[in-house]
Symmetry: C2
Subunit: 456 residues, 2 copies
């Protein structure tokens, strides 16, 4: 490789792309790093959008930016905002770029390419889906449009889909004084959890004044309403909360192999099927810690972790000391997620009974009721831990937690135990911290694990 031609091009300036850029900047200081970004923001917290819309974030949308384009530039990263990558030629090693403001297209050569195009809200193919009052929640541009619509006085918000982001947005709009209706096809919202957990979340949302309509299918949109099989819902704003699909069209068109859910298939070094092309984040696959299967789970934590791995491996190829040492490898993911909805905390990781069976495992699941503090403490609130294990081996497979303040992050113990390949017997014996403001003397996670040991 010629010394003159050491350039990394990054497509996409959010977590995965900018983390990779940052690692290359640090580990290969002589390399050129160019970042192409369609929008005008870099390195932001999309997960914070519901809180910004809900008015919780002083300073608004801009506060969600962890590092601005200017800060990246000061570190020597050539951030090009409103520059859209429109094609990749992996044979020539070039990206076709549209400078949106200039209206001009140019070719940009690369030695290494990081495809960090992220995810896009799933937009169902329904009549009226392109109406301007229908908004996804993915980028800070989306957040600005949502806030603008809210400030224009929209009062009736319909959320299509009861995923995390949809439910968080429903609560955010209630906080703003709007009405909020959630329409979900499933029996309960938050289909990632068991149905009875979803039902308890639906009850909490309803108690907060949110209209939760389950087993309801959206059939189309008119300028002022959402058409469903349960009748029309008046709406000033429609929020898409169905989920996220990988933005992999650019990669696909370039002949880069896709995997599950049409995400860009990467190995544990974050390398794609094409030499010199890397990917991470919401557009890329990962490997599940329990099943070993290829999965697509769009979580900001993975964008950061896997972007880092990609960056370190790219840097090895661009640095003066290229070739030294081994590639860094990503570790498998558990799908650990936490959220808080209407004072109810939710945590999940790994598999549950249904997904374990889907994976061909002989699974057993137990449920225990506990409290977030010692039962005699005034702040004690109910909390439920449901734990799934493999019959015969006792191997821990996953857990779901639902409860009051302090409940959700206990899922991290389960996530750690999954990474270690522990059995439920191991988990039952963990030396977890105890004091009355935090739990009973047997931590709820350990209690669930103990219960599971009786069933496996």
């Amino acid at each position: 490789m010629s010394r003159a031609a050491r350039r990394l091009v990054v497509i996409g300036a959010d977590a995965a792309g900018m983390t990779a850029a940052g690692r290359v900047r640090g580990a290969a200081p002589d390399a050129e790093v160019v970042v192409l970004e369609m929008g005008r923001f870099t390195s932001y917290s999309a997960c914070g959008i519901p809180y910004a819309v809900g008015g919780l974030v002083a300073g608004g949308v801009e506060r969600l930016v962890a590092r601005s384009p200017e800060e990246h530039r000061q570190r020597g990263v050539d951030v090009r905002l409103h520059h859209e990558a429109t094609a990749i030629d992996t044979a020539a090693g070039t990206v076709e770029v549209l400078d949106q403001h200039a209206g001009q297209t140019y070719q940009l050569g690369y030695d290494q390419l990081m495809v960090a195009t992220g995810g896009a809200p799933i937009r169902p193919s329904l009549p009226g889906i392109d109406l301007p009052f229908i908004q996804g929640v993915q980028t800070l541009g989306d957040a600005e449009r949502l806030l603008a619509l809210a400030d224009q006085g929209c009062r009736r918000v319909v959320i299509v889909g009861g995923g995390y982001i949809g439910l968080e947005m429903a609560e955010a709009f209630i906080e703003r004084g709007c009405s909020a209706t959630i329409v979900d096809r499933g029996a309960q919202p938050l289909g990632l959890l068991d149905e009875d957990f979803g039902a308890r979340i639906a009850a909490a949302l309803r108690q907060r004044g949110i209209d939760v309509r389950t087993e309801t299918t959206v059939e189309g949109f008119a300028p002022d309403r959402v058409l469903t099989d349960g009748g029309a819902l008046a709406a000033d704003l429609v929020v898409l909360g169905i989920g996220v699909r990988p933005r992999s069209e650019l990669a696909r068109a370039a002949g880069i192999e896709l995997g599950v859910h049409d995400a860009i298939r990467v190995d544990d070094r974050q390398a794609t099927s094409v030499d010199g092309v890397w990917s991470a984040g919401d557009c890329a696959t990962a490997v599940h810690v329990v099943t070993g299967a290829q999965v697509h789970i769009a979580l900001g934590t993975y964008a950061n972790k896997h972007g880092r791995v990609a960056g370190l491996n790219i840097a090895r190829r661009l640095a003066d000391a290229a070739g030294a040492g081994d590639d860094v490898r990503s570790v498998p993911v558990a799908g650990t997620a936490v959220t808080k909805l209407c004072q109810l905390e939710i945590g999940l990781t790994g598999l549950r009974q249904a997904t374990a069976i889907d994976a061909g495992l002989d699974a057993v699941t137990v449920t225990i009721e506990a409290t977030t503090q010692a039962g005699y403490m005034p702040g004690a609130r109910p909390m439920t831990v449901r734990m799934t294990a493999e019959r015969g081996t006792g191997r821990l497979l996953g857990a779901q937690i639902l409860g009051g303040p302090g409940a959700a992050k206990r899922i991290d113990v389960v996530a750690t135990a999954l990474a270690a390949g522990m059995t439920v017997a191991d988990v039952a014996e963990l030396d977890l911290g105890y004091a009355p403001p935090f739990s009973g003397v047997w931590d709820p996670v350990a209690v669930a694990a103990r219960e599971a040991t009786k069933e496996v």
Copy 2:
């Protein structure tokens, strides 16, 4: 062994003893189980005493009882309150018992003996130490006396020793409207933590109105004051908060071997040096997960866990199917502890730099500053994670956490990683839950671990 002589005698009716009794009751239903208890309570939460004294526990001291003597009796456990074991004859297999109410002594034969005599507050040998206004915090009897003294109008409380329980009691008395002074010999209270952490806790206590006097030595007691090398302190009540020693005199007199800190030496089956005699809880030793060394750490979690193991192993010897299967074994302990003082949460587990060096390990320690929620959230509070690892191997050795709401229980991730023998590189990659109400996208524990990877 003759079928007529299958009796377990348990000395001490708190967590370790009653957990063992309960396991034997369940697994060896034909065995006789007799529990000897000096006081009048069974199975209570000593850790809840500060909260009961502080007036937080509706129902008072009685609410701290997890299971009453009557409930145990209904399950077929012969609980004898105000019966004090005064001697053990391991050759004869008998316990000498003083029936305090009858004033009579009798001999009670056993086939298996569980010594669960617990701990006692350390009482320094100082002039006036036996004055009635000096009170430990160990049993519910102590709690009753503390509340009675408080109700009699004591206004000036001096706490001798800045351990957990002492600090919690200081806050409790402030809650009751008393004044509280903590006297500690060390540079800072909570000597289990690094000094700068102790200093931050001292500052929080002082801000709450507690008079914290460090590097001050108590020299004696007069009926209305505590004499120190920094002058006399007026006092209506003195609380001992120096720590807990094992109550092992009875075992020692019976020729049962003692170990570190004069705790009853047990193996990982909770067996003592004498066949048929078992022990667990505050009176017994344990093994440290990092060092493998014998330790004495008085924590209610161990009383429960190790009491269970003792009970299962005793049951094997008393049940009809005696001899089947293997003995159950306790797992090593990490010394995980959490508490909350004046809105400041504290967690620790494993070793810190000083104790790692004492253990002969080549250790490095890093400290990171983070927030309890995403930085842009209104509830975000500072939190510090300090992590210690072994140089060369990168093996995780322990951590200390200090911060706002939600900080302390994150120590459980470290405790779980210690049990799994993880390196800090492993911890840095854990799939921990993220959402803005719970942390930044990189969990503070993972951030500390990543930082540690650079130093090991």
